[in-house]
């Protein structure tokens, strides 16, 4: 049924053969297995990000009645590859009065923190890189590291714009983390688990996706996760017209690429969580159940749809002002999320006659 499961097994079998060939002991040591899995997922994610950057440029072009990249490769698909090569081979410019060590580790923290979230995403039935029974909490906790990376970057660059960008970003991420978590709470209350895989399975058994009964939660989550990944209309941390480049003004070459990659990975993670929790993850839509397609396919399709939505946000809404942003987070999103939790609690009590 699931082709991706076979794929994972195939990778494992190949690895075992390589091991025997090298004369090493079988089974593979867990540490090495983990490293190889990380490397593979990094490669896959990087290619996916390249595709997303291309998609973003095409979507924006479409919205502004332009053509977008169309010179390098078919439909301009290789444009991002060319850009990536340019970025990685670029000279690494650094301000002389930077704070050396924090300046160096900031992009690493920001990137690694977001990338670690990939681990618990349910790709298909029973297929996760490492299933944790507290997956939702894991993603929330790990991604909160990004703030430290961004603040460090803003501070160590020794630049006013960077510092203000770092401040804004931290304030924004901390504020929007609250509605983000609160919007997930009702689903956790209904399913009674923090395991993303089990949340998807619950939806498969129940026969509906949570986007129906939890439409408020879905909308709050989508808004908050757009803000979490510093994207327009919530991109005040890097507002070009005010702050030149925000917290990454002083970063160039590969270090800038790491921030860039981190931003796109956080979009991927945000939409993957949205898909798993609210849109039924790898479950096929009811009317297309007969198709012999692995669940992974549906997962990717749904993730791409959500990402398209987030991209459409960026190119249709104007940027919020700082005070509007804070007002929106604290005075609208959080009360709505709390109300949603309350209503869900009543709903559970009503239907299950007291749990």
């Amino acid at each position: 049924m699931s082709g991706s499961l076979k794929l994972l097994k195939l990778i494992n079998v190949i690895l075992e053969h390589v091991y025997k060939f090298l004369g090493l002991t079988n089974p593979i040591p867990e540490v090495i297995n983990a490293f190889i899995t990380a490397a593979i997922s990094f490669a896959v994610i990087s290619v996916f990000v390249m595709f997303l950057v291309w998609m973003e440029r095409k979507v924006s072009a479409h919205m502004q009645s332009r053509i977008g990249p169309n010179r390098v490769g078919p439909f301009g698909l290789l444009q991002t590859l060319a850009d990536a090569i340019k970025l990685t081979t670029k000279e690494n410019m650094e301000p002389q009065k930077r704070d050396k060590i924090p300046y160096f580790i900031a992009p690493i923290i920001a990137f690694v923190a977001t990338f670690m979230g990939v681990v618990v995403i349910p790709l298909d039935k029973g297929v996760t890189i490492q299933n944790l029974n507290i997956g939702v909490l894991y993603i929330i906790a790990i991604t909160s590291f990004t703030v430290i990376g961004i603040l460090t970057a803003g501070w160590s660059s020794n630049n006013k714009f960077s510092l203000i960008g770092g401040f804004r970003s931290a304030a924004q991420i901390i504020s929007y983390e609250i509605p983000l978590v609160l919007s997930l709470v009702p689903v956790i209350m209904i399913t009674g688990t923090l395991d993303l895989q089990k949340i998807v399975e619950y939806q498969a058994h129940a026969g509906y996706w949570f986007v129906g009964p939890q439409i408020i939660g879905f909308l709050v989550f989508l808004t908050a996760s757009t803000a979490e990944s510093n994207r327009a209309p919530f991109d005040i941390p890097e507002a070009e017209s005010e702050l030149t480049g925000g917290f990454h003004t002083e970063y160039s070459g590969i270090k800038f690429a790491m921030f860039f990659l981190g931003e796109y990975i956080s979009i991927i993670i945000g939409s993957s969580v949205a898909v798993s929790v609210f849109l039924g993850g790898w479950i096929a839509p009811a009317f297309m159940n007969f198709l012999p397609v692995p669940g992974f396919f549906w997962f990717v399709i749904k993730v791409l749809l959500v990402i398209y939505l987030i991209m459409a946000f960026r190119w249709t809404f104007p940027r919020l002002r700082v005070d509007q942003l804070m007002d929106f987070g604290w005075k609208i999103l959080i009360p709505i999320a709390i109300l949603n939790i309350f209503l869900t609690g009543l709903w559970i009590l009503w239907f299950s006659k007291g749990v």
């Binding site: 924090p102 029974n133 507290i134 430290i148 603040l151």
Partner: protein, 188 residues
């Protein structure tokens, strides 16, 4: 292997905590404090308490350290490298840390009943041998997942529901108080 991991994490925590104390630049201190707290989360994972580890990361690294960094950045002249970070109260601090340290070690030895049998069983007699996850589960079933922790916390009969509510009221009043103070400052 397990011991090796433990020592790695322990040395990481101790070093980052030490440098968080002696660094001149207070921003570096805050970053190192975050590193030390993250290391503590690592110890929790090592002991098989993933939930506690994640809460540690979420609250201490994700929220409190960032608040500290915010405080440092927003306080006037706090980022100046000339501010005094050290003082000269060697005797007093030695006495206090000594007393606290002895107290903590005594508490560990008198409360952790599962350490002692493992100490007897293990050949080398290292304390770390008993701190591995395997021996924890072997000697006493310690379940630390959410399904046990949640009911244990707010069970009306056996749990700590009253304390839990008390803490929430305290936090709520702190929240309101902070807002009131901040508002007054703005108007005045």
């Amino acid at each position: 292997m397990e011991q090796f991991v433990f020592w790695c994490i322990a040395i990481f925590i101790v070093l980052s905590a030490f440098f968080a104390m002696i660094m001149k630049n207070i921003f570096h201190c805050a970053l190192l404090l975050a590193a030390a707290l993250f290391g503590v989360a690592g110890i929790f994972v090592y002991l098989g308490a993933e939930f506690l580890a994640l809460v540690q990361v979420l609250i201490y690294v994700g929220a409190i350290t960032i608040l500290i960094i915010f405080g440092i950045m927003l306080t006037h002249k706090m980022m100046d490298s000339k501010i005094i970070v050290m003082n000269k109260q060697v005797v007093m601090s030695a006495v206090i840390t000594g007393v606290l340290g002895t107290l903590i070690i005594l508490t560990i030895y008198s409360t952790a009943h599962w350490i002692l049998p493992a100490l007897k069983n293990s050949e080398s007699g290292y304390l770390t041998h008993s701190i591995t996850t395997a021996s924890v589960t072997k000697n006493k079933k310690v379940v630390t997942d959410v399904y046990t922790l949640g009911p244990a916390l707010i069970n009306p009969k056996k749990g700590f529901a009253f304390a839990f509510e008390l803490v929430s009221i305290l936090l709520l009043s702190v929240l309101i108080g902070a807002t009131v103070i901040a508002r007054k400052d703005q108007e005045g």
